[in-house]
């Protein structure tokens, strides 16, 4: 109360503010757009639920069945149609697919990343490359794989080439951003000493970004493992994803699905632990 008494003595210059109702939430563009975005998303969600084709499903029944299934899958995992060794080998195959994809993606992305970095190339070339990346990303990976499958035949070769596209797009963005962080002065100094573009790239740009590049490449490898599982299931890439697809669609064996899920989960969590350490290092740097 004392405080209030003290403050009342001050002749308030903003008297007009005291008389009318004081609003405390000023309307600004950001607040309006936030509100609008949330409203539109909610309306679309409601409409989506309304328009779903529920077929002859009784939702409660289906959900109960789902929980029962999930219980079987996760609590009673069991390998039926192939051995533990086979599953382990197939996990390695999937890791191999992810590795090749990441490697090819990285090699191509280094080159285009240099062209996409505005300080190393021209604004126009950079724009063109970034447009290409946007296009690549707009086509889902599975479609890239299937399109290449027409030329190379369905299998691991088409899968790796098709999966490489999104890796290229992702890594071009990551690499070019770390290239752009290089101090202008360094490039100038080397230019002044008469070094040509390639010399600048190999003596200054890549050495100073190499830790970032390795980190981003590993983060992509983590993503590519998941992609490789999916392509094994959907586009004939082989590996553990294919086994999972077989267990689900042909053998209809929930216990086997559970066992395979645990394999995938284990690898994914190991990769994620590495990725978290790498991210923390990136943040600290």
């Amino acid at each position: 109360m004392e405080v209030k008494g003290q403050l009342n003595n001050v002749s308030a210059p903003a008297e007009h503010l005291l008389e009318e109702r004081i609003k405390i939430k000023p309307a600004n563009k950001a607040a309006i757009v936030i509100g609008l975005t949330l409203t539109v998303l909610s309306l679309l969600t409601v409409y989506a639920f309304y328009s779903f084709d529920y077929k002859e499903f009784d939702m409660t029944e289906a959900l109960i069945a789902t929980f029962a299934n999930l219980k079987v899958i996760f609590l009673e995992p069991h390998l039926e149609h192939f051995s533990f060794g086979h599953a382990l080998y197939q996990v390695l195959v999937t890791l191999g697919l992810a590795f090749l994809t990441t490697l090819f993606g990285a090699v191509v992305a280094v080159f285009f990343g240099l062209l996409a970095a505005e300080n190393l190339s021209s604004k126009r070339v950079s724009m063109i490359i970034k447009g290409m990346v946007a296009f690549i990303r707009a086509v889902p990976t599975v479609l890239w794989v299937l399109i290449f499958a027409v030329a190379a035949g369905l299998g691991s070769t088409a899968a790796v080439i098709g999966m490489t596209f999104h890796s290229i797009g992702y890594l071009i963005k990551a690499y070019s951003e770390s290239f752009e962080e290089l101090d202008r002065g360094v490039i100038e100094a080397l230019q002044a000493s008469g070094a040509n573009w390639w010399q600048i790239v190999f003596q200054a740009v890549i050495p100073s970004s190499i830790t970032y590049m390795i980190s981003w490449t590993f983060l992509r490898f983590e993503i590519n493992f998941a992609v490789a599982v999916a392509m094994g299931a959907a586009a004939g890439a082989g590996g553990i994803g294919y086994d999972m697809f077989m267990a689900s669609s042909f053998y209809l064996d929930m216990r086997e699905i559970g066992a395979i899920t645990y394999f995938i989960l284990a690898v994914a969590i190991i990769l994620e632990l590495f990725a978290i350490r790498i991210k923390n290092k990136l943040k600290a740097a």
Binding site: Q6, L7, V10, A12, A14, L17, L18, I22, I24, N28
Partner: protein
């Protein structure tokens, strides 16, 4: 009667590192007290033990003659509404307006529903506007907090504490992130709050010269122990040596200048 009494306070982090050991002092109503000491001495921990942002390991803290350490959740909130706190990094909600941030000081007295919806009475809003006026933020009322300078943000922090109608302010390094001019403005405001409103102010500082200039009393801490507790003007270079240890040399030079002046 003292407003705040701290008796044999200890705080231990983990098994071995003792942040505070056997800390004793009391603070009178309306007093301006500064706690100084080298970084890592336990200043921040001590301040946060008082309103139990950190729970002490042992000892006793009495605020308005009521023991703080054994309070239930609800009573603790009640006590906290009487203690304003000011932070080094201001701790505002950046995306909200200045007046909303100020009104946050009222949340402790609100029902859950009113707090969730952010419902404030016209009277509370008027009080917020008045306080912001006094602190020279009249033009900033509807600005977003992230559009303010550091000094202005800290004044919003003070406004948020004042609207609580507090009996005491705890200020954790309030000027450590500010330039000298803004720092002076903030310290002047805190001093004025103490002298004209009779609110007790406890400030953590690491600048000895500022502490001597503004405080009624200084408490010096080193390695979690009180090594000086007395009026600002009685402090000698030896005292500073004891508080700051090996860091003292450069500081004593500064103080010499102040005393001479």
């Amino acid at each position: 009667m003292a407003l705040l009494e701290v008796n044999q306070l200890t705080k231990q982090f983990g098994k071995h590192s003792k942040a505070l050991s056997d800390v004793n002092f009391s603070v009178q109503e309306g007093e301006f007290v500064t706690i100084i000491g080298p970084s890592g001495a336990g200043k921040s921990t001590l301040l946060r033990c008082i309103n139990r942002m950190i729970d002490a390991t042992g000892g006793e803290i009495r605020f308005q003659d009521k023991s703080v350490l054994n309070l239930k959740k609800k009573e603790l909130k009640q006590v906290r509404t009487k203690i304003g706190m000011i932070f080094q990094h201001y701790n505002l909600v950046n995306r909200l307006s200045v007046i909303e941030n100020t009104l946050h000081g009222k949340l402790g007295t609100k029902s859950t529903m009113a707090g969730v919806l952010g419902l404030y009475s016209q009277e509370e809003k008027q009080q917020a506007v008045r306080i912001l006026n006094v602190l020279g933020l009249k033009e900033m009322i509807y600005k977003r907090a992230d559009q303010l300078s550091g000094g202005q943000k800290q004044r919003v922090g003070i406004a948020r504490a004042l609207i609580q109608n507090p009996r005491m302010l705890l200020c954790d390094e309030p000027i450590a992130s500010l330039d000298p001019n803004s720092a002076k403005v903030i310290m002047d405001h805190l001093k004025k709050i103490s002298t004209t409103m009779g609110i007790t102010v406890i400030v953590n500082l690491h600048q000895v010269d500022v502490a001597i200039k503004y405080s009624d009393r200084i408490i010096g801490i080193n390695s979690g122990q009180v090594v000086y507790n007395g009026p600002a003007e009685n402090m000698t270079p030896e005292d500073i040596q004891r508080i700051y240890g090996s860091e003292a040399d450069e500081l004593i030079f500064d103080i010499g200048g102040i005393h001479a002046g």
